[in-house]
């Protein structure tokens, strides 16, 4: 009996204590998930605040934030004006957390290091360049003898931020792509096979000789897949690396941080790069949320764009460059609770 009382007291005590520990919930993008789960783990150890993040996809993250079932969302493609209209009375804010890149990977005998131009990439993915020894590809790679293999295009079959970034890049660099396909998380592909998520695309590329596909840089590096250097706006062939991707993001950032950095102006920047964002409501006093919770969340965000950044590169994500951090700070400082700014001291 005594033991039972003791246990009851313990459970009760835990519950009271648990009430004080804030738990935050987020949902969305799968691309930054490995980084976020590491961040949230470290943050939990440092502060005791639990962050429960569900990697259900950017679309799901946006939907759940609009339905107010999570504290914050995460997305690889910033919300369109039309989507933001759905929450006009309480605007949704974006801030970037890291920079990622999409690389062109392929299956060719000897795995040569290829150099590609935006015209060549568009030609291949539009189905106009159909063999590897096409003069357009050969001219870009004079030192490699390209085989007379048919090109098999592999793309993502699921809607994804990776596809969005890739098609955003092609829409900027190829008028024909913009007209025939356009940019989006899911597209009407003129040619090719679809593979589900990164491993699906990688699996097909690895199996089919002459295949070409696009995956995230981190995934290609981890799996030792070959990937191409891409000619950027300034005419330089840039190999995707953590540095060249971060450099791609070193551009002027608009106040709302919704900027596409594909086809970057940065001379040493890799052109198929993109931010990934966290989204949340500017006015945090909604749906019975406490000031405490709002404060905890904003502190977490502040930590992510500062202390958190040191963990990016070990997980193959590029760090936010300085101008992006400054812009993100301004966004976080503009968040309010009942009209009052939440982060005052910073």
């Amino acid at each position: 009996m005594k033991i039972r009382n003791l246990l009851a007291a313990l459970v009760l005590g835990l519950m009271v204590w648990g009430g004080r520990v804030k738990e935050l919930t987020g949902a969305g993008a799968t691309f930054p998930y490995p980084l976020y789960s590491k961040w949230f783990d470290i943050y939990h150890n440092e502060t005791g605040i639990m962050v429960n993040y569900q990697a259900i996809g950017s679309g799901g993250g946006i939907r759940q934030l609009l339905n107010k079932t999570v504290d914050f969302g995460a997305t690889d493609a910033f919300m369109s004006d039309e989507e933001l209209e759905k929450s006009r009375e309480n605007p949704i804010l974006h801030f970037p957390t890291c920079v990622g890149a999409v690389v062109i990977t392929y299956n060719l005998p000897g795995a040569p290091e290829l150099r590609l131009s935006p015209e060549a990439i568009a030609g291949v993915f539009l189905g106009k360049i159909t063999r590897w020894n096409d003069p357009k590809l050969q001219a870009l790679n004079p030192e490699v003898k390209l085989p007379s293999l048919p090109i098999v295009v592999v793309h993502r079959s699921d809607g994804s931020g990776t596809t969005f970034v890739f098609s955003d890049y092609l829409s900027k660099t190829s008028p024909e792509w913009r007209k025939r396909v356009g940019r989006g998380k899911a597209l009407r592909w003129p040619v090719g096979l679809g593979g589900k998520v990164n491993p699906g695309v990688a699996g097909l590329v690895k199996q089919i000789r002459g295949a070409v596909g696009y995956v995230e840089l981190a995934y290609a590096v981890k799996n030792n897949m070959p990937y191409a250097s891409v000619k950027n706006k300034r005419g330089n062939f840039i190999k995707p690396t953590l540095k060249s991707v971060s450099l791609a993001a070193s551009v002027k950032i608009p106040p709302d941080t919704r900027i596409s950095i594909t086809d970057t102006d940065a001379p040493e920047g890799y052109p198929i790069s993109s931010f990934t964002w966290i989204i949340f409501y500017r006015e945090q006093k909604y749906a019975n949320r406490s000031m405490e919770k709002a404060k905890a969340m904003l502190n977490l965000f502040w930590w992510m764009i500062h202390q958190g950044q040191q963990y990016n590169e070990s997980l193959l994500y590029s760090k936010l460059p300085e101008p992006a951090v400054r812009a993100a700070e301004k966004v976080l400082l503009s968040a309010t609770y009942g009209g009052e700014p939440i982060l005052k001291h910073k």
Partner: protein
């Protein structure tokens, strides 16, 4: 007495709850798919354009993908499921080996479909690719043919189990009468047993078709996921189930979301029809 009342009441609640869930699912899917159906009308089912970028949605490629893979799978599986059911329901009836065969076939149905998908990717796809190379078509390995092969294996137990049961149920006096008239075993099978069990065999086929129509995971892994109208048996394609699995998580636009739900509703209705007709045929058999 009181206890039994409570027990009966809980039974009733459970039964009603299940029915309600089904009706609620159908209703909410109908409501959610209204925007798409209103925007495109019947064209939704006949347009081959599925273009999330310009917000145009036509489900024809997926309708075709589902129907072609399912019927092809049915066609491929039929000789096997029929042979198995005749063998265990007639020739090996009552023998130990028959129950062993039954267990084995039922095990096929118990394997999770993601395992079939993996097996398909690792084993079947390279084999099909070899076949495609020898035929001189594009060596994708994935596509309609591969998906149909996987589906064929997966639906064998559904058709076989029901067919065996009805073949076992054929009254022995009928068969004995045939033997008495001098019919051979094969003649008895073809002229008496199979015609008698015809309805049940048909029902089994319809039920296995229902399973093929809705199968998602294994198909998504090997069908090549291309949202275009398939041009040949080896083309990559998408089915209604696989396009939903592929695109649902990232479908942010309202019309896009609604169109995917409309596809789900179509799939729901089609499988329900096959299920209901199948059950109806089975029930009629039993009354007879």
């Amino acid at each position: 007495m009181k206890k039994r009342g409570a027990f009966n009441f809980s039974l009733l609640v459970a039964a009603l709850a299940v029915g309600t869930v089904l009706i609620a699912a159908a209703l909410s899917m109908t409501i959610a798919s209204l925007p798409a159906l209103r925007a495109f009308g019947l064209k939704f089912f006949f347009s081959p354009d599925w273009d999330p970028v310009s917000n145009k949605f036509g489900a024809l490629p997926f309708l075709l993908g589902t129907l072609i893979t399912s019927f092809l799978a049915l066609f491929l599986s039929l000789p096997f499921s029929l042979s198995i059911s005749i063998l265990s329901g007639e020739y090996l009836k009552g023998k130990k080996i028959s129950s062993l065969l039954k267990t084995l076939v039922d095990l096929i149905a118990a394997v999770p479909s993601v395992i079939y998908g993996f097996w398909g990717l690792e084993v079947l796809v390279p084999l099909v690719r070899k076949l495609e190379i020898s035929l001189g078509v594009a060596p994708y390995g994935v596509g309609i043919f591969t998906a149909s092969l996987i589906l064929a294996v997966m639906i064998i137990p559904n058709a076989a189990a029901l067919a065996r049961e009805v073949i076992e149920l054929v009254p022995s006096n009928l068969k004995e009468a045939a033997y008495a008239l001098g019919a051979t075993r094969t003649e008895t099978l073809l002229k008496v047993t199979l015609p008698y069990a015809r309805g049940g065999i048909m029902a089994g086929i319809l039920l296995s078709l229902g399973r093929a129509l809705g199968e998602t995971m294994a198909v998504t892994m090997v069908i090549g996921n291309s949202n275009t109208i398939p041009k040949s048996l080896f083309s990559p394609a998408n089915t209604m189930a696989s396009v939903i699995a592929n695109e649902f998580t990232e479908a942010t636009g309202d019309l896009y979301y609604s169109s995917l739900i409309a596809i789900g509703l179509t799939l729901f209705v089609v499988t329900a029809i096959f299920g209901v007709v199948g059950r109806y045929v089975v029930n009629r058999m039993k009354i007879k």
